[in-house]
Amino acid sequence: MEIDRVDGRTPNQLRPLACSRSVLNRAHGSASWTQGDTKVLAAVYGPKAGTKKNENPEKACIEVIWKPKTGQSGKLEREYEMILKRTLQSICVLTLNPNTTTSVIVQVVNDDGALLPCAINAACAALVDAGAPLKHLAVAICCCLAESGYVILDPSKLEEQKMKAFAYLVFPNSLTLLQEGGSPVGGEPMEHGIITSVTQGAMSVDDYLHCLERGRAATAKMSAFLQKSLQPLLSDG
C-alpha cells in the first residue's frame, strides 16, 4: 500500500469523527456530524399533517431540503436531495404514521470531501434524535479509486479531485446485529445488505467489489461510534 495521502493517513484510515445531538432548540430533532473538516448539520421537523403532491398518502412521506454552504441549490444539490430521500425512506418505518410528512433539512457547514456520506450520517442521527421510527440505522462511507488502482476511504476534497472513480456506499449498522443479535434475520445476515450505492467515474467490477468489502469493514467502526454517540442522552431519560 504505497499510496501517499496528503494528510498522512493510511488508505483505510478515516478522519476523526464527531457527532452531537439536539444541537438546535426549535427543531424536533437535530444532529451535527463531522468528518475531519467536513461538517453537516441536519434538522428534522415533523411528522406534520398531510403529504405532498404525487406522494402516496397511505405512507409517511420524507422531504429532504439540502442547503448548500453558499449560493443557490443547483442540480447537484437536487441529486443529493433525491439520494438522501431514497436512503432515508428505506430505513424508516413508513407505514406507522400514514399521511404525514417529515422534513429533513441538511445544512452544509463545511465541505472537505465525502459530503454526501457525511450528510447521510447526520440525517440518520437527527432522525434518531427526533424519535422517528427506524428499521435500523445507516452508516455511509465514501470509497475512492486512485489511478493506480488503490482504494482509499473517506477522502478529503483535494484527494477527491485526483481520483479516477468513487463510490458512496450506505450500509445498515451491522455492529449491533453482529454483537447482539448474532442470528441471521430473514435468511440472510443483515450485515451483508447494502442500502445505497452511488458511483461516479469508471471502475471495474472487481474494483467495485473491493470497494464494497473495504467500505463494509470500515463502517463497523463508524457504527460503533454512532451507537456510542447516541447513548449518553438516553441513559438519563
Partner: protein
C-alpha cells in the same frame, strides 16, 4: 440453549437500545405471548427496537421502549394538555402537539347535551384524554373519564403553561413521585397538570413562585434524583434570602 432463553430478554431490560437492536428472539422463547408497547416492532421471529431509548419490561410480558422526544404521537388513554385552535359546530379543534389537530366533540363533557354546549375561546387550555388515535385519522379527545364523569378533566384557568419533552413529562408523572416535585411540594404550594404530550400547566400563589417552580422543573430533565433535590434546596434558600 436453556440459558439463553432466560438470559436474552433480561440483558436488555433497562438498558439503552438504538433502532435496529434485536431485543428478543421469539424462536427460542418458551412463552411466545408478549405485549409490545411503543418503539418496538416484530420482524419475523425477532422483536426489533425502532426508537432510541431505554427498554422497559413489566411482568408478565409487556415490553416497550421509553423515549424522550419533542414531538408527541397520540396514543389511546393518554391524558394530555391541549390548546383550542378552532371551534366548529360539532367539534372543537385542539392542538395536542401531534401531527394533526385533534377533535374534541362538543358532547364529550360530563352531562353534555345539545342544550348546554360549552364555549371555549381559541387559546383555551384544556386537560383532556385521548380516546381514539387511529393512523390516518384525526385523534379524538374527551373531557370525561371512561365512566362519563368529569374527573378533573376540563379547562385550566389562570396559571402558566410551558412545553417540554415527552420524557420530562413522563418523569413528572412517574410513581413514586419524582424528587423535584416532592421537594418543591414540601416548601411551596402549587398546582400542576402534566400532559403526556409534553405540556405542563402550573399555578401558584404569585407569579414569581410560578417562575421558580417552572424553572426548577425545566432544569430537572437532565439531573439525577439526588441532584434534583440539591437544586431545589438551593433554589428555596435563594428564595428565602431574597424575600
Amino acid at each position: 440453549m436453556e440459558e439463553k432463553v432466560s438470559g436474552s430478554p433480561a440483558c436488555f431490560i433497562d438498558k439503552p437500545v438504538i433502532p435496529g437492536d434485536v431485543v428478543l428472539d421469539l424462536s427460542d422463547m418458551t412463552n411466545q405471548t408478549i405485549k409490545l408497547g411503543g418503539g418496538l416492532r416484530q420482524d419475523f421471529d425477532s422483536i426489533v427496537a425502532m426508537k432510541a431509548g431505554t427498554l422497559r419490561f413489566t411482568k408478565p410480558n409487556k415490553y416497550w421502549v421509553e423515549t424522550s422526544q419533542k414531538r408527541y404521537v397520540p396514543c389511546v388513554g393518554d391524558s394530555v394538555l391541549g390548546i383550542v385552535a378552532d371551534s366548529r359546530a360539532d367539534n372543537f379543534l385542539v392542538d395536542i402537539k401531534g401531527p394533526t389537530l385533534a377533535y374534541l366533540p362538543v358532547l364529550a363533557f360530563e352531562g353534555g347535551t345539545r342544550r348546554n354546549i360549552p364555549k371555549f375561546e381559541v387559546g383555551t387550555l384544556l386537560y383532556v384524554r385521548v380516546v381514539k388515535a387511529n393512523p390516518g385519522m384525526n385523534p379524538e379527545l374527551s373531557c370525561t373519564d371512561a365512566s362519563g364523569k368529569a374527573a378533573e378533566y376540563g379547562v385550566l384557568k389562570d396559571g402558566y403553561n410551558f412545553d417540554c419533552s415527552t420524557g420530562l413529562s413522563r418523569m413528572l408523572l412517574r410513581s413514586p413521585r419524582c424528587p423535584v416535585l416532592e421537594e418543591l411540594g414540601k416548601k411551596i404550594s402549587f398546582e400542576i397538570a402534566v400532559g403526556l404530550n409534553g405540556r405542563v400547566w402550573l399555578n401558584a400563589g404569585s407569579p414569581s413562585l410560578i417562575i421558580v417552580v417552572s424553572n426548577a422543573i425545566m432544569n430537572s430533565e437532565s439531573l439525577t434524583g439526588v441532584k434534583q433535590r440539591i437544586m431545589v434546596d438551593k433554589l428555596i434558600q435563594n428564595l428565602k434570602l431574597s424575600s
